[in-house]
Amino acid sequence: MTQTNDEKVSRLLQQGLELYGTGDVAQAFMLWNEALELDPGNEEALDYIRDADRRTKPRGENPEAPTASLVEDARRLVHAANAEAALELLTSAPIGAPAGECLESEAMIELLRAKLFRDYQASLGHLDRIPSVSGTAGDLQGRNLPPSAGFLLSMVDGLTPLADLISVSGMDRFEAMRSIHRMHEAGILEWDQ
């Protein structure tokens, strides 16, 4: 396999994981199969397909617990510096794994939340900053935001600091920070640095 092919396969595997983490399983399968076409017998791609296939089957057909490999998948994502996707993967997983494995998954979720919380804090900076919405309502409607983000946006009035927005949103503090961080990254929310 050439150097370029190697990079391509690696990229396809990574993109597949990210998609899988966000719940887009079909698209993830497509990318991993594409990786196999470029590198037939690639162990990593086969592993991903096997694990994902097991988890997507109904529970009755799948007596084995899915969580262990899910945690492994999440670890891979963390190694690939994609903690967000790892958390998505773990929190969107089906329930029903044996207690020990569930605990491992839950512990990892907590670790990831703590890590990401610190990342969001660092990215948002002082929470006494006052955010404003960039663009018009029309611009916004073309985007794909969840209702919780819409709710946070509705509270942005050019007077209320981030700390108060988070407090009164009634949302879990982590979720509120994540939503604000994402909207800031996407250029929807802005504030003076």
Binding site: P147, L153, S154
Partner: protein, 523 residues
């Protein structure tokens, strides 16, 4: 000399004013708003929120957001008004140790004066920020129908806020003052007050500087929020029809709908049509859904027509109680933001056959009047004579369950009156004085303001001892009662403090606790 502020402590919103260079001015808060929601809440992360911030979580964190505590202040837990609040309010109202209603939020139980105290403290802070000086004294307004206990509790709330309450005045009186009506000749004034959560109509008679409340009526559970609710309901139904999604169980969506409805309602007082745009109000497998709706003034009027008509029924009742015809009214004053609605103004004009006064912002008119009164109290040269009257008759419970009236309703305050009573049994050594307020001849149909025992009466046949009971009502309408055995000179007296009022030590404890909290948040 520090300035005295006037505070309209409203059920839904509060407003603080001051007289500067002879002009009364409303003081805006740091957000630029001239009124502040009378709301207190504790956020999910334990932060104490007052005013606009508390309002923002009113639906998403409803159990921990207190509004309309004024409906509860100074009432007994068993009062029908309190029971109705228990049915309608999302926060928890519990029975207090003095049979008073208390509110449980964020794991802590608050008394009603404490909640009002928190709102007043916020208004004090707003004033101090604006004036750049410490404020220690205030005039606070209350509804004309507030009894002694409710007035006393409001005064306690002021103390909790760190304010000396120089005067408690009636809201309709304050509204009339802000128009300078006390300087005009004898006339009858109707004050139509449609606030956020309550509707009050009062008929006042102005004569020689004495403002007498001839009658007051209304509905303590009707206000601008009913208008908002109708719009929300309409939007939810429309969204369900057009998008097939039910938003009723979605608190985030409902909070946005409530905020947008209130704004649309206000805008429709100046425009014929408004657009309500709520992007990302919901989502499903097909992606985000937006709510985009055009609401016209006509739509709104159809939605709330019956609510407006309901207020006019109270107006009719009030005129009957006051013994006047609608056409006898010389002036009409509108109070409360909801009276900006053209439909309200139109129907009031039609009802009285004359146009209401305009010129003073209806949200601010009561607060401005309180500031006028505050300035007059400070100015020795001010010749303004403002005398309120007692809203209800005062007396004591007597043998056979009767009510002996010592001071009649509508007596100008301050006032002192006494009467001699005697014993009902031979060798009776003590008498229990039950202080009551109300209009019924039967004691148990009136409000019990307080009770105390005068003991050590000299043994004598029944009917012989003479006990002089004296009532004093100060300018705030607050009652003191004393009883004296004329033979022995033995005397007992109380400043009436019954159910719902706090003892001095309780107030001090609350002040200390709130001071500690202030220090905590500064850290």
């Amino acid at each position: 000399m520090s300035r005295v502020i006037g505070i309209d402590l409203g059920t839904t919103n509060s407003c603080v004013s001051v007289v500067e260079n002879g002009q009364s001015t409303v003081i805006p808060n740091s957000g630029g708003y001239k009124t502040t929601p009378s709301m207190f809440g504790i956020s999910q992360d334990g932060k104490r929120l007052v005013g606009h911030l508390a309002k923002r979580q009113a639906i998403t964190n409803a159990r921990n957001t207190i509004f309309a505590a004024k409906r509860l202040i100074g009432r007994r837990f068993d009062d029908p008004e309190v029971q109705k609040s228990i049915d309608l309010c999302p926060y928890e109202i519990v029975r207090g140790p003095n049979e008073d209603p208390r509110i449980k939020v964020g794991g802590k139980t608050f008394t009603c004066p404490e909640i009002s105290g928190i709102i007043l403290r916020e208004m004090k802070r707003v004033a101090e920020e604006y004036l750049s000086e410490t404020v220690q004294e205030a005039v606070i307004t209350v509804p004309a129908y507030f009894n002694d206990t409710q007035r006393q509790c409001t005064k306690d709330a002021g103390k909790i806020a760190g304010l000396e309450v120089l005067r408690i005045i009636n809201e309709p009186t304050a509204a009339a003052l802000s128009y300078g009506m006390n300087r005009q000749g004898d006339e009858k004034i109707a004050v139509y007050d449609l606030g956020g959560g309550t509707f009050d109509i009062s008929i006042l008679e102005m004569s020689d500087g004495v403002i007498e409340v001839l009658a007051t009526s209304g509905n303590t559970f009707l206000g601008g929020e009913d208008f908002d609710r109708r719009i929300v309901q309409h939007l939810v139904e429309w969204f369900e029809e057009s998008e097939g999604m039910d938003l009723r169980g979605d608190t985030m969506a409902l909070q946005r709908l409530k905020d947008a409805s209130e704004k649309a309602k206000c805008d429709l007082s100046m425009r014929d049509v408004v657009e309500i745009n709520l992007p990302f109000i919901a989502s499903d497998s097909e992606g985000p859904r937006h709510l985009n709706y055009e609401l016209t003034r006509e739509n709104l009027e159809n939605l709330v027509h019956d609510v407006v008509e309901g207020t006019l029924k109270s107006v009719e009742q009030c005129c009957v109680d006051a013994g006047v015809q609608a056409q006898d009214i010389d002036q009409i004053v509108l109070v409360g933001g909801q009276t900006r609605m053209p439909l309200v103004q139109k129907r009031v004009t039609e009802h009285f056959g004359k146009r209401p006064h305009k010129g003073v912002n209806p949200d601010e008119v009561v607060g401005l009047g309180a500031a006028v009164q505050a300035a007059a109290l400070l100015d020795a040269d001010n010749d303004m004579l403002l005398l309120d009257v007692t809203p209800l008759s005062l007396g004591i419970g007597t043998y056979g369950g009767h009510f002996a009236r010592l001071i009649d309703r509508n007596t100008t305050v301050p006032v002192s009156k006494g009467h001699i009573f005697t014993t009902t049994r031979d060798d009776q050594s003590a008498v229990k004085i039950r202080v009551l307020q109300g209009e019924s001849d039967m004691a148990n149909e009136n409000d019990l303001l307080g009770e105390f025992v005068l003991s050590g009466i000299r043994p004598a046949p029944k009917g012989e001892p003479e006990v002089e009971v004296s009532f004093d009502i100060d300018a705030n309408g607050i009652v003191s009662v004393s009883a004296r055995d004329l033979a022995t000179g033995k005397e007992q007296s109380i400043t009436v403090s019954s159910t719902g009022t706090l003892s001095d030590s309780e107030i001090d404890e609350i002040i200390e606790e709130h001071d500690l909290y202030e220090v905590q948040i500064k850290d």
